[in-house]
Symmetry: C2
Subunit: 349 residues, 2 copies
């Protein structure tokens, strides 16, 4: 008496390895070995093809769940981004995806919405799915993310944002240098009073760019303490607008080096609302060179970071960490470059 009901409907329930074994007249374990490329060599060719045919015939598909349960691996990588709507991230994610796909890993991306709780929840969820590794683009001060990953022993790399004490590899942009490029550009144009619109203080890119700003100003022979600085409380257009408004109240500058393109867009808004023209009246530099900032009005002078390189290198580091868990952390610092467009100009005489 058959255990399964006949179920010879058009859609059989779902073939298991046992079904294949029965069809091929071998033991399930043999099927497993025949179908797994790594162990394929352990079985006779004749058996292997017979099994392969049976599997094909029955439309067998491996259950990652069951396999993962046993092997504790899933050939899947999780990517956590703070905000998918921010156009900086998709290119990074995409580059990582193609690199990982080459190595046979699928990627799952999750949005943390800049919310540490959601981030923790997502990490747990990813861990529950037994991801083989995690790429965190969402690192921020006060997040327990890296701690969770460490405790769960999930190979992890940080992208774009660093985290002070973390023992994980990171591939980031040279933010201090990038900001120096912006400042040097503005100084070369003749600006002497330059404001800085900084990012939220818990995020490494924000603090690095801020400190880079001060160093660069000093290097240019100017006094950083004379430069107005205002921090936005998120990397959003809205936050940029607010911060810029407060900066305008302070006054005393002819240019503003902004920590991020999204913030720069907000700055555009605030400047426009104050009746100032970006470029002629006050110069603005952004940071990231995210998609579309070359087409906005006026086109944004900004610091281009190597999005694709960042995603790709991070993927490589992660793959290395997975296959060779003992390797010590390695950091990669990518060099940005200045892209001059029309949001910057010489100050009025």
């Amino acid at each position: 008496m058959p255990r399964r009901p006949p179920a010879l409907s058009v859609e059989p329930p779902r073939a298991t390895i046992a079904d294949v074994a029965r069809a091929a007249g071998v033991h399930p374990s043999t099927v497993s070995r025949a179908l797994n490329p790594d162990t394929r060599a352990m079985v006779t060719d004749a058996v292997a093809v017979r099994v392969a045919e049976a599997a094909e015939q029955l439309g067998w598909r491996p259950s990652m769940l069951a396999a993962g349960l046993r092997t504790r691996r899933s050939r899947t990588i999780g990517i956590l981004v703070p905000d998918l709507v921010n156009p900086v991230f998709p290119p990074i994610v995409h580059a990582a995806e193609v690199r990982l796909a080459e190595a046979g890993y699928a990627t799952l991306v999750a949005n943390t919405d800049n919310d540490p709780d959601r981030e923790a929840m997502m990490i747990e969820r990813m861990a529950g799915h037994l991801v083989d590794g995690l790429m965190l683009a969402s690192a921020a001060k006060g997040s327990q993310a890296v701690d969770l990953c460490r405790r769960r022993r999930i190979p992890t790399v940080l992208i774009n944002r660093r985290l002070p004490g973390a023992e994980f590899s990171a591939v980031t942009n040279d933010d201090r240098h990038g900001m120096a490029l912006a400042v040097e550009h503005l100084v070369a144009l003749g600006h002497r009073r330059i404001a800085h619109l900084a990012g939220p203080s818990g995020i490494s890119t924000a603090v690095d760019r801020r400190s880079g700003f001060r160093s660069a100003v000093r290097a240019a022979g100017l006094d950083p303490d004379l430069m107005p600085i205002m921090a936005a409380d998120a990397y959003t257009i809205e936050a940029g607008r607010c911060a810029m408004e407060r900066l305008l109240e302070l006054g005393g500058f002819t240019a503003v080096a902004v920590a991020n393109d999204l913030l720069a867009l907000g700055a555009y808004d605030a400047l426009g609302a104050a009746g100032l023209r970006v470029g002629p009246d006050v110069s603005v530099t952004g940071f990231n060179d995210m998609p579309f900032v070359d087409r906005i009005s006026p086109p944004l002078t900004t610091i281009r970071i190597q999005h694709a390189e960042m995603g790709g290198r991070a993927a490589g580091l992660l793959l290395a960490a997975i296959t060779e868990p003992a390797t010590s952390r390695t950091d990669i610092l990518l060099q940005p470059k200045l892209v001059v467009r029309h949001s910057t100009a010489a100050p009025e005489a």
Copy 2:
């Protein structure tokens, strides 16, 4: 002799339900019941708290793998998008995510890169992870996606794009009507010779907008066969530029209704290269009102689709399909609206 090595290091391996059971002095099955909200009522309160404490103490986290293996559910939803770099999708995905999160579902998004093979691979992968449902924003002619989902019996909804014969619910935009809005606007401005830059022919949005274009032209008392039409072969800036160049060779129009904002950006490029000013010389309308098109130069007149609504409603439909698999397919058609900016103007006298 203990089966597990002492491993009283700082990081115990990972508590299982059996460990919790031992600590609480009950049977594993009791732990399972106590910890699962649905079955929590089956055990005494005293036991439940004891178990909960033990679990907390040991840092127990459920293994979705193991649970899923048994229950065939994962409380996870997969979202497939054709191209994350296209800014239309992130807002839709985001809206879906919040709705699903409310219902206790986590989301995993995957990029198909407009590649049917990658799409199929991702669906298999998601199925392997036992996603409870799938949202497909990547539907295109010739894709086996829906067929796969049907065969695997995965509850599925289509977002943004329809698929002719599919038996799945879909929430889409009223593309024909949207295009009519654009045409009516151009006609009202005085245009009589209007070109259409269409999208790739395998995608429902492209064919609906194209047929909507012809209907609207006819409704305006003009002859659709006199209007130049050119299809791009992908929804990208580059494809838009190419198609626009070919349209310019044809000539004979004062305005062009473009099927998608990304294509419209390409059209901007081609027009600019030809020495024509968008707006004064030739009017351009886009479609989608994706982020940032309000800030480009000139700001794009376009058709706004309800991104958030779309993601949210699709999520709702999917949840319904999951809890009530028998419900028949229901389609939701969202109404777009015209947003007039500066890329359209009256034709020169």
